[in-house]
Structure formats: C-alpha cells, structure tokens
Assembly symmetry: C2
Homo-oligomer: 128 residues x 2
DNA sequence: CTGTATCCCATCTGATACTG
DNA sequence: CAGTATCAGATGGGATACAG
C-alpha cells in the first residue's frame, strides 16, 4: 500500500500564480511532483490539489499526457479506475523542476520584498 | 563597444509558447538571456525580440523590474536613453533557466513527437 | 528613443451542476 | 470513480496608432 498524499502538501502561497517559474500550465509542476513516487489515481491527486477543480485538473493532466510527460491507464475491472504515472520523459523533467523550485524557495523573501518595494514606490508615484 | 544582439538569436519555434517551461511571462526568460552579458537599451532588446510589440516588451520588463530581477536606469542626457540590466537576483536566475532550457533542447524532438502522436490519435478517435 | 493608449481576441482558470 | 457541460471572469498577448 502506498502512502496517501498529504492534504497540506502545498502551501497556499506556493502555487505557480506567485511563482515566476512555470512548467506548462499553472498546476503542471505540482502534478508532476505528486507523481514522483509512483502512479496515482485521479481521486488521489485531488487531495493535495483540492483547490483545483476537476475540470482544470483533467485539462492539465491531458496536456501533460499530450506532451508525453504522463501516462494515463484505465483499469476496467470490477472497480474501474484510472491511474496516472510519469513517463521516463516526465521523470526527467523532475530535475529542472527541482532546480527551479530550489531557486524560488531560496529567493522567495527577496522576491516578495522586491515586489512590495516596487508596488509601494509605484503607489507613491501615482499619489504624489 | 559591446556586441549588438543578433536578430536571429531566437528560433521562431523556440518561444515559450511551445516550451512547456516558463519563467514568468511569455518572454521573460528570453529577456533575461538577452541581458546576460551586460546592460541593454530598449531599442537593443527590440532587435532579437522583434516579434514582441513594444507594449508587451515594456510590460514584461516592468514585471521583471517589479520582481527585482532587472534594474531600469534612465539617462537624461543630450541623447536620453534607458538601460536595463540584471540585478544579482536576476543573474542568479540564469542557472535554473539554463537547466530548463537544456532539458527542453535535449527533449525537444521527443516532446514534439509525443504531441503529434497524441493529436493524431485524438483525431482518429473523433473521426472513427 | 522609449515608450503609452486603445481596442480586441484567445487562452486560462474557475464555479457550478451534472453523468456513465 | 472519474470525469464532462456550461457559463463566466480574469489575464495575457497582440495590432495599430500616437506621444513626450
């Protein structure tokens, strides 16, 4: 039995919307990291990605499948289900993702600080 | 006198629209690489980025400036001009960018092949 | 030279409800 | 369980023209 994915796997502030580094669409990198340790079912992915609607999650998975990064397998058994897993190509993408995430993590404060300063200066500009 | 940037610096097929790895907006990574070897003027950047309209180029530069990745300097001399250059933070981003670009370059064919196969299979699906 | 102003369209993302 | 359908909003990007 594999480990369930934790619901708090991703910080609410972490999604790619604030992260300047993006791999494909908004959730692609997070999905790939969810698949790092083996195949996952759709419902499993929904746990850590609870803020993603099923429609968007499907979209994103299809896009990853299209790029050959993820393989989708349907099991038409008594309890039918679907599993997603990384292809070798998808797995190879973990390296640049990890490097990028490490950069972001390391410079997160610097980044937020810069934005704050810039926005404040801009506001003052527009006011005065 | 610094080297002018070549007009064919970027392949038409290369822009981030096809590249699944993105750093910020569509042109951010390309801009950062344009600034790798020193400051550049707006008009200089327009040469290799000829497919980017001035409005969008400005937008993207502002966004990079906001994130503290690029510094903008105005020279109000007889011939006024503006120079953009990487901050240390921006320079540090070169590493993840280079890693990501290396990945994309290495797996480009694989990626395009996967898309083609997927699209073809999808078309057949919808036809038959 | 270094941008801005408008207008517009495409894409992405999301909310909500529904289905084989 | 694993999605799809529909509608809507936000955002990004681009064309074109103009300005300090």
């Amino acid at each position: 039995m594999r480990e369930p994915l934790p619901a708090d796997m991703f910080d609410e502030l972490c999604p790619s919307s604030l992260n300047p580094i993006r791999f494909g669409d908004k959730w692609a990198a997070l999905i790939i990291r969810c698949l790092e340790h083996g195949p996952r079912r759709f419902s499993e992915l929904r746990v850590p990605l609870s803020r993603v609607t099923p429609k968007v999650l499907t979209q994103s998975l299809r896009s990853l499948e299209r790029d050959g990064l993820v393989r989708r397998t349907v099991y038409a058994e008594a309890t039918p289900h679907v599993e997603y897993e990384l292809t070798p190509l998808g797995r190879s993408m973990l390296q640049p993702i990890v490097v990028a995430c490490a950069w972001t993590e390391k410079h997160w404060d610097e980044l937020l600080g810069a934005r704050e300063s810039y926005d404040q200066a801009t506001r003052l500009d527009h006011a005065g």
